[in-house]
Structure formats: C-alpha cells, structure tokens
Symmetry: C2
Subunit: 677 residues, 2 copies
C-alpha cells in the first residue's frame, strides 16, 4: 500500500550501491556534490563474493584515503605457479611468475571480500553525510532532452519506491557476472562487526516502507548491475556472447597436500580440465574449477541443476590428482558460464550514465584470474568530470570523454578475455604435433600479458580535450570526437621532456621528500582524489641559474593577477581548490628552503602561515632510500618540465617549465571563468 508522496532535488542520483555506484558516491563526497545513492537491496550483505584488487584499484582507494585499510585486510598474492601435465600426463609445477609485475606500482594485486571493500566506501562517504538508502527502487524515469545542454537544469525525474523489508531482502542466490542465477546451497552471514550501523539504518528506512517519492536530478548514474533497470529504460543493449564453458567456484578452507595452495595457481590437467587457485584471507582459498571439457569443436549440453559443491569438488580432485584436496568448511559456492558483453552506449546526452556491470560484463574475475575490478575503475573515470561540471568549473564537453576513454578499454579487455578463456578452458597440447591442444607456452605468454592488463596501470587514454597528445582522437578512443574544437586553443605536449612518462597514462609513484620536513612520501600519496587539477613544476636543479630563473618566471605567471589559476579558480569566498601547484626540485634538500620558491608554491594564510606541503625534492631520505623521481620519470634536472595531472592522476600535458601560455590555453579550452581578472 503506497501512502504518501514527497519530492526532492539533487545534483546526482546514483542507482545501485555496488562498487561502481559507491565509487561514484566517493567522488561526489570528495567534491561536495549534493548526492543520493539508492539500492533496492535491503542490506549490503548478499553473498560471499571476493574481489581481486588490482594495483591501480588500490592506488585509487589510496587516493580516497582507504588504500591502507584494503592493503592490511586483503590477502596478498605474490606468485603465480603454473602446473601442467608432464610427459606421463601427471601435473607438475612448470613455471613461476611474479603475480604483480615488479615495479609497475607501489601496490600489488590482492584479494578481499567485497563486503569489506564496500565498508571502506561507506565509511568514506559518510564523512560528508552521504549514506546508502537501501530498500529503495526506481520505478519511473523521465528525461527532458530539451534541457540536456542547460548546465543548471534538472532534466531527469525519477520516481523512487521505498520497499518493505520483505521486498528488499535479496534471495540467497549466487549470481554470476553474466546473469545466470544458480542456487547457492551454503549461504551464511558474513556480517562483520562494523555492519551493525547498517542494520540500525535499515530499521529506520523501514519507516518509509511503501512510500513513493519523486526526485529531480541534474545527473543520474545507473550502476544497477547486469540486469540494469536504468539501461533497460534507456533501451540500450549489451553486445557480446556466451560460451559453453561452465565453471564452478568453491570458497573453502582446503585440507590438502598440494604444496602451492597459498599461491595463485593455474592448473591444466591432461584431460580433466583446469583449476585456478586463488588464496584468500582467513585461510580461505577460492577454486575456479572447469566443469566441462568442451573444446573448440563444441561439446554435449550440461545439466546445470546437477551442480552441487560435491560435484564441483570431485572435478577439482580429478584435475589436481595425484594431490588430495577436500574440505570441512565451505564459505560459499557457485557456478557460471563464461561470456563477455559490453554496452553500446555509456550515456544518454551525457546526463544519464551507465557504469559497472550495467554496461560491461565479462568472465568472473579470476575465472581467468585477472579481469578484476574494471567496473569500479569505470566510475572513477566519470565521477570527477560530473563533479566539475556540476560545480560550474568545467564545460559539459569533458563528459564525452567518459565513453571515449572507457568504452575503448572495455572492448580491449573483452577481446583479451575471450582469447584467454579459450586458452585456459582448452586441453593442453601433448606435444608440438598436437594441433588441437593448447600450447602451454602460448598460455604462459597470454598469462603474462594478461597480468599487465589486469594491473590496470597500462591504461592509456586517447587524445581529447583533456589529454594533449598527438594523433587522432576518434581513433584513439571509441570513435567519438572528443578533441578541442577551438583551433586557437590547441596546444602540443613535449613528451620528450619526461621520457618515461606517457600522456594519457596515470602518473607512476616513487618516493619524494617534502622540502620543509624531509619526510618521504610516495608521490601518489600527495595526489588525493579531491577534484583538483594539479600543475606540477619539475623545476630541476635550482643550483643552475637557468633553472632558478625559469622557476621564477613560471612562478610569476602562475601567481599573476591574470593567471588561469585565478580566472578559473574558485569564486571569492568559496572554500574550494580548483588547482594545486606543486614544485619538485632536484637539488640538494639541505641547500634549499621553501623560501627559494615563488609564493604560488607556498601560499600564505593569515592564520596558518606559509603552506609547507607543496614543495618537494628528489633527494636521499634517512630511512627509505632515494626515490630517483627525476630518473624514473625521465626528466633532465638541467631542463625540467611542467606536468598537468587530471584530478584522477592521468597525465594531460607535458611541456617546458616556462611555457605558461600553453597551460593557459589548455585550461581555457574547457574551463569556465569564475572571476574576472
């Protein structure tokens, strides 16, 4: 029985509180955007899913302030062991690979229960008063397209229905990533101590049960899963295919004499199929177990209702023989069919966006052990852009880069996934003459390539209004035209000034020291996700008069009355930061003080005095070595450079230290003037 109507108005309405929705909410929270996030499920706990956390995902978590929590709680995976049949057909360890390629990130891939990850997000967004409204379901969505390009309009109207507890309680079914629902016979509560608040809130929400409200929003994000209601309303489709490969998943505490059970293992048996071993936290191990040995010729149909944990275990035992494996404790289990699909469109008029499974599904992560967490990273690309537009700092044109940047990545991922699934699900070749079998050398090489892919650090966004690089924007993205339109504002990067940085990629992290207190930081630790653009002046060796002069010159321009820092900076009396100006020099720390830098690098506050946090130095630390930041970025200390970072740490531009004009043009191409000079 529906009892009353209310109405509300928000900047951003997020539908779905899984990782993608929460990632969006984290950005909105960090940027102070008026936001609501709703989920039709009554609690955050609904099954035992674990999540692989790729390096880049951990970097992103860190930029929101909770990377260290995930890093502590997760199980770290260090090594991948490849097991293959020997000439007698008995499995043996044939190779070992570093699980994370050494040097690509200061984090390494690890595994953690999804409930914990959601907890970090919930804690983070709660600091700005955002909490997930559970048991709330959209029932109607209207979009007034005529208002799409009016910056301050609320063109979307959504009706939300508050469910009763009964309606909001999820069925205890394990859902695979491609939507095949299979009953999970062993569901148990994995509620953590810190979830009690949720329970309380849930009770409160129930007071609203059966009411309906109408929400007007500037922007809507549909992050409501593979069966996305939002996507269906928009009439968008997922394109792709399923395969006949069926895999089972067991989360167990194994009792086994298999010596590598705490390593990530890819086990290819001679003719019984394959197993992927993923060691988890709390003694758990996840096993991905091939249930059909269907190969390229196609195999018999499989009766999925017959799948039980016992059946899956028996398959694992056959594959892993002569080693023994069994369990007393099973935490969760499921089965799924491998498939990959990607959305045709990621938004309607850059007002209603889709993210996460709503627009992109692939094989369950570790089914091939690597396609981890792409869904949250997608919303990470979108969040700051929407926030910047809602705040009136940036033109709506930057929003088009969401689809051009992420749809391309999704397509690349799926192509790889498709190839990899075939290699992992196929029968190993007996020898080089066995053409129907899979070459184990090819498998290893794909595995290694996939490892880099999976780290998330290889993502390279194409040319656009916010990525100044050579080439064709449409070609480098998903085909959309996202380049700078105004010819007078077109500029060029000089990538040769930082030979080991790549425009369009995230800036890698090394240790660097704060000039004022000599404290070592991972450079990325200083690049919090708070919505600010960063202009990093690598001033080089200040002992050289030429470098000192260039620093003085750029400092004067940046600090000047007509500088873009001022024109596009916050309106007077707005306590916001649009730009952060960082200085990194390569001289001796002990020969330098912050007073050697122009004031724009150490702004003065009447209460707080000088800012000591923005001037850094690439020098030896007392306890944590030397980060060699200039070396690692390929920057010549006798030349230096300026790097512009987007709020998501991707490199927009690299240019000479003293080329103020290019910087001004760059920001002028998409930013909105806040204050007249």
């Amino acid at each position: 029985m529906i009892t009353k109507n209310t109405t509300d108005q928000v900047d951003v309405l997020i539908i779905g509180a899984g990782p993608a929705g929460l990632m969006m909410a984290a950005w909105m929270s960090a940027c102070g955007i008026k936001t609501r996030i709703v989920d039709k499920r009554g609690t955050k706990i609904f099954n035992g899913q674990a999540d692989g956390l790729q390096c880049r995902t951990l970097e992103i978590f860190d930029s929101f302030g909770f990377g260290h929590r995930a890093w502590r709680d997760a199980n770290h995976m260090l090594e991948i062991c490849l097991w293959n049949p020997n000439s007698e057909g008995v499995i043996q360890r044939s190779d070992r690979i570093a699980d994370t390629i050494p040097g690509i990130s200061h984090f390494q891939q690890c595994v953690l229960h999804q409930g914990r990850i959601e907890r970090y997000f919930l804690d983070t967004i709660s600091k700005s008063g955002i909490s997930v409204e559970r048991g709330v379901m959209p029932t109607k969505m209207e979009f007034d397209e005529s208002l799409a390009e009016e910056a301050d309009a609320y063109p979307i109207t959504i009706t939300l229905r508050h469910l009763s507890e009964e309606e909001a309680t999820p069925k205890q079914s394990a859902t695979s990533a491609n939507g095949a629902g299979i009953e999970d016979g062993l569901f148990r509560s994995n509620m953590a101590a810190d979830d009690t608040e949720d329970i309380i809130r849930k009770a409160e929400l129930n007071n609203k049960a059966n009411t309906v409200e109408v929400v007007k929003a500037k922007y809507v994000l549909g992050a409501d899963g593979a069966h996305s209601w939002v996507r269906n309303q928009l009439g968008f489709k997922l394109e792709g295919e399923s395969t006949d490969y069926i895999w089972g998943v067991l989360d167990i505490i194994p009792i086994t004499d298999f010596p590598d059970i705490r390593m990530r293992c890819a086990i290819h048996s001679a003719s019984s199929g394959s197993v992927m071993v993923i060691p988890r936290e709390n003694k758990l191990v996840r096993l991905y177990i091939q249930l059909t040995t269907t190969n390229a010729e196609g195999g018999q149909k499989f009766d999925r209702s017959q799948i039980t944990p016992e059946y899956i275990l028996a398959s694992a035992q056959k594959i892993m023989a002569p080693y023994k494996i069994t369990y007393r404790y099973c935490d969760w289990w499921t089965a799924y069919q491998i498939g990959q699909r990607v959305g045709t469109n990621f938004s309607t008029r850059e007002r209603i966006f889709l993210a996460g499974d709503a627009v992109h599904t692939h094989s369950p992560k570790a089914g091939q052990g690597m396609n981890v967490s792409m869904q949250d990273v997608k919303a990470y690309n979108l969040g700051w852009k929407v926030a910047s537009v809602v705040k009136g700092q940036s033109d709506r044109s930057i929003l088009k880069t969401y689809q051009s940047e992420r749809r391309r990545i999704a397509q690349d991922l799926i192509d790889f996934d498709h190839r990899f699934s075939r290699l992992f699900s196929g029968r190993p070749a007996k020898d080089v003459m066995d053409e129907e079998g899979i070459s184990m050398a090819e498998f290893k090489s794909a595995f290694e390539k996939g490892n880099l892919f999976a780290s998330g650090t290889a993502v390279n966004y194409g040319k656009s209004i916010i990525v100044v690089k050579e080439g064709d924007a449409a070609e480098q993205g998903d085909g959309s035209d996202v380049a700078t339109k105004d010819k007078s504002l077109q500029i060029s990067s000089k990538e040769s000034l930082a030979t080991k940085l790549t425009i369009g990629m995230r800036i890698p992290s090394f240790k660097v020291l704060n000039q004022a207190d000599a404290r070592p930081w991972q450079f990325q630790e200083l690049l919090k996700s708070n919505g600010t653009w960063r202009v990093i002046v690598f001033a080089g060796n200040l002992g050289s008069p030429r470098q000192a002069e260039k620093l003085a010159t750029i400092g004067k321009s940046l600090g000047g009355h007509e500088s873009f820092v001022r024109r596009f900076g916050p309106k007077p009396n707005k306590n916001e930061t649009v730009f952060e100006i960082l200085g990194v020099h390569a001289g001796r720390r002990q020969k330098t003080t912050i007073f050697d830098f122009p004031e724009i690098f150490r702004t003065f506050d009447e209460r707080d005095g000088w800012d000591y946090s923005k001037i850094l130095v690439d020098d030896e630390s007392y306890h944590e070595g030397h980060g060699h930041l200039y070396d690692n970025y390929g920057i010549d200390p006798e030349e230096g450079c300026v790097v512009v970072l987007r709020p998501d740490q991707y490199i927009s531009y690299i240019g000479p230290v003293d080329d103020y004009e290019s910087l001004d043009k760059f920001f002028s191409s998409f930013m909105i003037v806040q204050a007249d000079p």
Copy 2:
C-alpha cells in the same frame, strides 16, 4: 549521598586510564584476563598533551595491532637541526642529525596527540569487552599480605566510589609532569569524532553516581599519575630533585620566516636561553621555551603567576631573533619546572604494582626532546607477566623481574635526563676559553646519545630467571636477586650463534618471507603481543644434510609427547596458545615447501588443514627486496640456532639448533605443568 553497595571480584584491577594503565589493560585484553580499569576523571579529554612516540613504542603498538594507525596519524620527525650562536652571537644552523638513528627500527620517532593514542588503546581493549570506567575513584585499599604467595587468592580489597559528573569533571589546568599545576588560559575541546561513544558511556555511568562498591582483586596496578593515590596508600616515595629551570610550552600554528620550523630544532641563543621546536600534526608546532636563564650558580626566584602565553612567546622571539615568529592560533600552553624523580619500590609483594608517573617522573618529554613514552613501556614489561601468572602458566617468581628490569632503566634515564637538562638550559660557551658556558660539541654528542636512549631500542634487561645471560643478576638489575634458584635447571646461552643479537634486548626487525605464499613481512609483525612464548628455530640452509638432520631432531623433540611444549602447554580443551614454534630457514624458497619441515612447525587441524603461517624463509622478495635476516642477526646458515623470545619480544636465550635439553630446562625453571606426559 551514597546509596548502595555492590561487590565484585576480578583478576586485575587497574587504577588510572592514562597510557600506563591502558597499556596494562591492552595486555590483559590480549591474554583474556578478567580485568577492570577505572579512572576518576569523567572523560578521557582533559588537555592538549602531545606525546612523542619512540621507535620501540611504535613497535609495541604494532604488536597490539594499532602501530599503523599511530604511524599514519602522527607527524613524522626526520631531522634535528641544531642552531647555535655564531661568532657575532647570531643564531645559525650549525648541524643536522637524523632524528631517528637509521637502521635501529622499522619505525621512526614521531609525535601525536595523547587523545588519539588513548583512542587506539580503547578500541583495542573493547574487542575483549574491557572499557574504562570513568568517574570512579578508589577510597580504601586493604591488602592481606598473608595471602600474597597463594596463587589463586584475592588478597586485595578496594572500595570504589562512583563520582557524580561534577566531581568527575577535571579542572582545566595544565599539569606538568612533575606535578606543578599551572592554569591553562586557552583550554579548548579537542574532542575527536570518535569520542562520542565516551560521552554516551559517561552518561550511563552517571546512573551509578554516588554509589560505592567493593572489589576483590588478585592484582592491582596503580597507574594513577604523579600524585598516585595507590602509591600514597603504600607509603612509597618518589626520590629525586627539582631544578630552578623553568620552561614554557606553546602549541601554536606558527607564522614565521624561520626556515626549519617543520624540523625538530634545538636552538641555543647567545644569552637569551634555548628553544626546542617539535613539529606536530595539523600544522601545529610545539615550542619548549626556556623562561629563566638560571645557570649552575643558581638564579633569582621567578614569579610563576606572571607566566602567560604572551610572556612565553616574547621569550621565544628573543631567542629566535633575527627570525620572526608569532601566531594567530594557540592550541594549548603550559609551563613547568624541570625535575626527575623515581620510586623506591615498584610493588608490594608483587601483588600491588605501580607504573607510569606514579613511580617515575622526569622532565616533560621534549623539554629535552627525548624522554618519550617511558611510562607506557614500563607497564608493557609488567602486563604479560601478570597475565601468565594469573593463568597459572608461570610461577610468581617471574614478577620480581618487573622491578629489577624497569627500575634500572628508570634510574639510567634520569641520570641522563639530569645531565642533558643542564646542557640544554645552560648558556652556550663563547669559545673554548669560556669555561662557564656549555660546549656545543658536548651538547651535540649528548643529543646523539640521547637519541639512541630515546629510541627505546637500546634497553638491555639483565640476567634473570627469564633472561639467560652471563654475569650477576643483582648487578645487572636494580639489586634484587632474580636469577634461577634451582641449580639443576641453570643453563647457558650461546650468544655467539647470533653475533648481532643481544640477549636481554628486543629482537630487531627485518623483512622475511612466508614459505607458503612468498609474502614479505617485517619479522616483528609476526610477533604479536598475545602472551605466547616463541621458540624460533633458525634452521639454516636445509640443502645441507647436517642442517636438515638437526631440524628433524629438534622437530621430533619439540613435537614429542614429553616435550615442554606439551607439559606447559594449555590444558586439554583450553583454546590457548602458550608456545609458538617458528621455523626460519635460509635456503631457496622455491626449492622448499612446508612439507620439508617437521609437523610441529605446521600443525594440522581437522577443520583448517595445515598451518601455513609458521614457516619462514630468508630470501629475496618480488617487490620488497631481501631482508637478509640471517646476516642482520649474525647467524651462520651452516650452523643455525634457536632463539627464545619472551611474550614482549625480548630475547631470553640463544642456543644450538639441536639442544632440546636446555630449552626444556629453561621453561621448567618457571613454568607450571598443565598436562601430565
């Protein structure tokens, strides 16, 4: 009006919930001892004190599971800058020293508000249901000495009175470490968001206001500060002296052109006195400012009522000239007189103990910048011993080592403090002929020595029933006789088997890998404070048949039916761990599996399978280098050794890998048989 009486019985009653009391409570919580902790103050918030965290304190926090929280929240101090008058009498930077001596710990000294530190403790003890009862004051204590040596007796009876809110609210006075109370004119609430629970609990406690209860306890800890009620009841005294040196303290956000304001600085002016700069979190800086220039001859009396923040600032300005310093924001201020006192007795019959300021006060920490946190470390020495005795695992004789170990340290510290205070408060010598002045070379050398002292890592406990080393127990301690009485159980260590370890010192930490999953850990991370003794078998190179055989031999003895592990281990059906047996080998990780170790190193559980956490290897990691544990401990991989660690990570014994008999004798000298062989 007193309304009702109740009675209770506990193993341990802790009076006072400052750092020392909380440290004791953390041990009791970790060991599962029935404990109450009371404090007469109504809330934990009472002033703006910051605390220096020495390396060893951070290691201890880490062993309780919250080292990383302190490490993240604190301000890290990296460098000490010494400023002295030049030949014209103008201050200039004369030297720089690493704030923490590189290599002595995997943590470095840092500074953090005491309220945060208490919060970590409160969170930790709450996991076992212990919470501080605030507004509760002891009014009467009776001790039946005739029961002192009866292990299971409750010889102490304490009457507790629950105060009203008014009584429990502390006066807003800043109290110096030596008890001189000076009004703090600028008190402000520094309540953190996570303190709301305290407020709620406080309201609950108030329901008990004006009631009285009687508590019977096996053990009592008086951690009730410099004016300790418990100490007064026992009639014990603090011995020592005050000086005429008066210092002011300002916690401010400085506005200054002094270039080293974010470093720790010791500034000696030519004739205006000295300033110590301690950079803190949240832009704050603490200044310790000498207010009198009294030197060894004695000076004029000082009217302390005249001290105001303005007065203190003016002194700082004179000392720091020609640099300018002022502030808009002052967080807290106080003034104190330097003095050092130590208690004559640390306990009565090892039943009622004293810890923290109750038994040992010195100059406020950074007044000389180093005597940080000794108070909590003292209770850290005591906690596990009491827990072990209460559980019936150890003989009461180990309790005597608390005073012998810690009173000696206190005395050493005070001697140093005395000398250092004189050096820092004195006028710098103009030249070598100026005999009344303080030599700056001597000052620097004292500062460096003090730095090692302050790290807490140099503590070296003397010979005792739990520290098997050469020499005389009474001489190495505070004069008490704490050696093993039973001649037949006396054993010798062979310290030469680990040339860089010192018996009686805490084991230093380096990276080591888990054999089963290749994950790198700081060795100390594996040595949690949970009350277990650790027998670490450094098996050496298992490729050598001799080493492999020795490992097999010791494994058989340790795992045997008559082993001390079994005799002194927990009673059947008690879910406790008394011993942890760790194996660390020096062979190649990839050539080894856990199955190369005897079962005692990888015990089997019917539900959990093999234990993968106890076998470690000193080998190269993929991402965090090589810890070189054997090298750093001075252990020969072709010989190996066994190290016994106390539950507080101090080294009890070093012996040959296969000398089972010495191990058995060692534990037999103080442990109580739980199960007949």
